[in-house]
């Protein structure tokens, strides 16, 4: 569905995308993860033909981009990071206006509107103004708008950033429904739980390069020990010196917290129980551990 080879893009002296390869199969949900500035949004813009790459090739739904970007965009629905619904139009008018940009007749869009509103859970808001919608409703309308021309593939740029948990779950339900219908989804996010929940496969990008690619579960198993015990509290430094090397397969001190990676969490917890001043959290390892291991803990701004 999407094939990218050796993609590069430079702004001034900064190489934002550096030799990126990607393959997305029909019907799968592919996650693009990475810290801020990793090149996720630039990659999406390149894939849509909104900016020209310095080198490399892109094939989207079998169509070469940017050479035939216009045709390729007929096959794609886009949910951008920042809401850009038309504030001068009602909910229904937004869908009608957007359909026209795809060359659809008014009758063709009108026929799809009830289905799209139902999908977005906005059936009773058809004539509402955009300013009256909540953040979650706006996102759902943006998602419905991206489906107006029944695309094969969807690009979602951080679809749930800024939403409350209820609204996020509603978006996820919608995306699962689309996957069940056979749509292909490419999604950028920096919410690891979102990627773990939705993505069949994902790539972690950093500094414009693909650091790793695979199924979420497989990546966790390949890169991180099965369990993590996070330890904090009074006397942590002494405990770390005395026990970390023997009890943990791998450990890491970050600020006032010790991350102890282990296959035998019970032995760690038994040892911790002897020091009441220390508090701990025991959890299975997750995608965030992989992400932080591969991209580091430094802040990116």
């Amino acid at each position: 569905m999407l094939k990218v080879r050796g993609l590069t893009k430079t702004y001034g002296d900064t190489e934002v995308v550096r030799g990126l390869d990607l393959d997305v199969r029909r019907g799968e949900c592919f996650g693009l993860l990475g810290p801020n500035g990793a090149g996720k949004t630039t990659t999406l813009r390149l894939l849509l033909g909104l900016t020209d790459p310095d080198s490399g090739s892109i094939e989207l739904a079998g169509i070469a981009v940017p050479q035939r970007a216009r045709e390729a965009r007929m096959k794609v629905g886009v949910v951008p990071q920042l809401d850009n619904l038309d504030p001068d139009f009602s909910v229904r008018e937004n869908l009608l206006a957007y359909g026209r940009y795809f060359g659809m007749s008014k009758a063709a869009v009108t026929a799809r509107v009830p289905m799209l509103l139902e999908f977005a859970g906005l059936a009773n808001k058809a004539d509402a103004q955009i300013a009256q919608l909540s953040g979650g409703m706006k996102r759902r309308l943006t998602l419905a708008r991206a489906l107006v021309h029944d695309p094969d593939i969807l690009f979602l740029d951080e679809p749930t950033t800024g939403l409350d948990p209820q609204a996020r779950h509603l978006i996820w339900q919608g995306l699962r429904r689309l996957l069940a219908e056979g749509k292909t989804i490419v999604l950028t996010t920096h919410f690891m739980d979102e990627a773990e929940r939705l993505a069949d496969r994902l790539a972690i990008l950093d500094h414009g390069r693909r650091v790793v690619e695979g199924a979420p579960r497989a990546l966790i198993e390949a890169h991180i020990e099965p369990a993590v015990v996070e330890v904090f509290g009074e006397g942590l430094a002494d405990w770390t010196r005395a026990h970390a090397a023997t009890l943990c397969l791998r450990h890491e001190s970050v600020g006032e917290t010790l991350f102890c990676y282990t296959a035998t969490p019970d032995s760690v917890i038994d040892a911790l129980k002897e020091v009441p001043a220390l508090r701990y959290v025991h959890r299975p390892s997750n995608l965030e551990d992989v992400f932080l291991k591969l991209t580091g803990r430094d802040l990116r701004d």
Binding site: T51, P80, N84, F89, R100, Y101, F102, G103
Partner: protein, 261 residues
């Protein structure tokens, strides 16, 4: 900018963009028309009757007719300029409507052609409204000749729409547009013969005036009001076309640099 400079690829896909703006305008059409017309009309009638009663005829025209012809061009210029500055800027920068449209199979060429034709349409309405006042007050020489003012007004709207899009492309905020009004539009109003004949100016300013698009607009509109065929029609039409098209092409390159880098 040079890297982004190329001939626009024009297509009929600009129509949905024009239509989008039309549908939004339709919701507020009456206040919009009144707001657009009140100002030029008040100037024209106030100065025309007030000042006009103190002045002799100018080249055989009453001052009110003279001013009315200038106001047709001036009002059209303002309407087109305001549309591509403030309104287009809202759509491009504040509401990100252009970004949304670019995710569809549309190009910036389509969007900006849609904006330009929309600004032309809206300013056409402004110019024709002044023309209606000219008809109503009987300020014209030959009614059939005044019908030619309608295509002239469209051309003037196109010209200033194209020029204004350049400012839209480089503007960081609404405040920036004030420079354009202070440094370009207002001098043009004073130098191009809206309120008094250009021949009253010192020779140096007269030769500057000859290069300004509003002069060409007025040189077409004023003779038509009094029922004469304008001199050098081809020159004036070409000047307005060149200013507008060049503006569109340059604006397209600058906006490409801004949005599609």
């Amino acid at each position: 900018m040079i890297k982004h400079l190329r001939l626009p690829r024009l297509s009929w896909r600009f129509i949905p963009v024009w239509q989008r703006n039309y549908l939004v305008w339709k919701k507020l059409a009456i206040p919009s028309i009144l707001g657009n017309l009140a100002d030029p009309m008040l100037y024209m009638l106030g100065l025309g009757f007030g000042l006009g009663s103190l002045l002799p005829d100018i080249n055989g025209m009453s001052y009110l007719s003279f001013l009315a012809a200038g106001t047709v061009a001036y009002s059209t210029m303002n309407a087109a300029t305001f549309e591509v500055l403030y309104s287009s800027f809202s759509r491009m920068h504040v509401q990100r409507t252009w970004d949304a449209i670019l995710n569809a199979p549309m190009t910036l060429d389509d969007i900006m052609l849609g904006e330009l034709t929309w600004a032309t349409s809206k300013s056409l309405l402004s110019g024709v409204a002044i023309l209606a006042v000219i008809w109503g007050l009987g300020l014209f020489g030959n009614f059939w000749m005044t019908l030619w003012i309608i295509p002239v007004v469209a051309l003037v709207g196109f010209c200033f729409g194209g020029m204004g899009l350049v400012m839209n492309a480089v503007s960081p905020s609404y405040d920036f547009f004030l420079y354009y009004f202070t440094l370009v539009i207002t001098p043009m109003v004073l130098l191009c013969g809206v309120f008094f004949p250009v021949t009253q100016l010192p020779p140096l300013l007269q030769s500057v005036s000859a290069w300004l698009p509003l002069t060409h607009a007025i040189d077409l509109a004023r003779p038509l009001v009094i029922g004469r065929v304008p001199n050098s029609v081809a020159l004036h039409v070409a000047a307005l076309l060149i200013y507008g098209s060049l503006g569109y092409v340059i604006a397209l390159a600058l906006t490409r640099k801004r949005l599609l880098k």
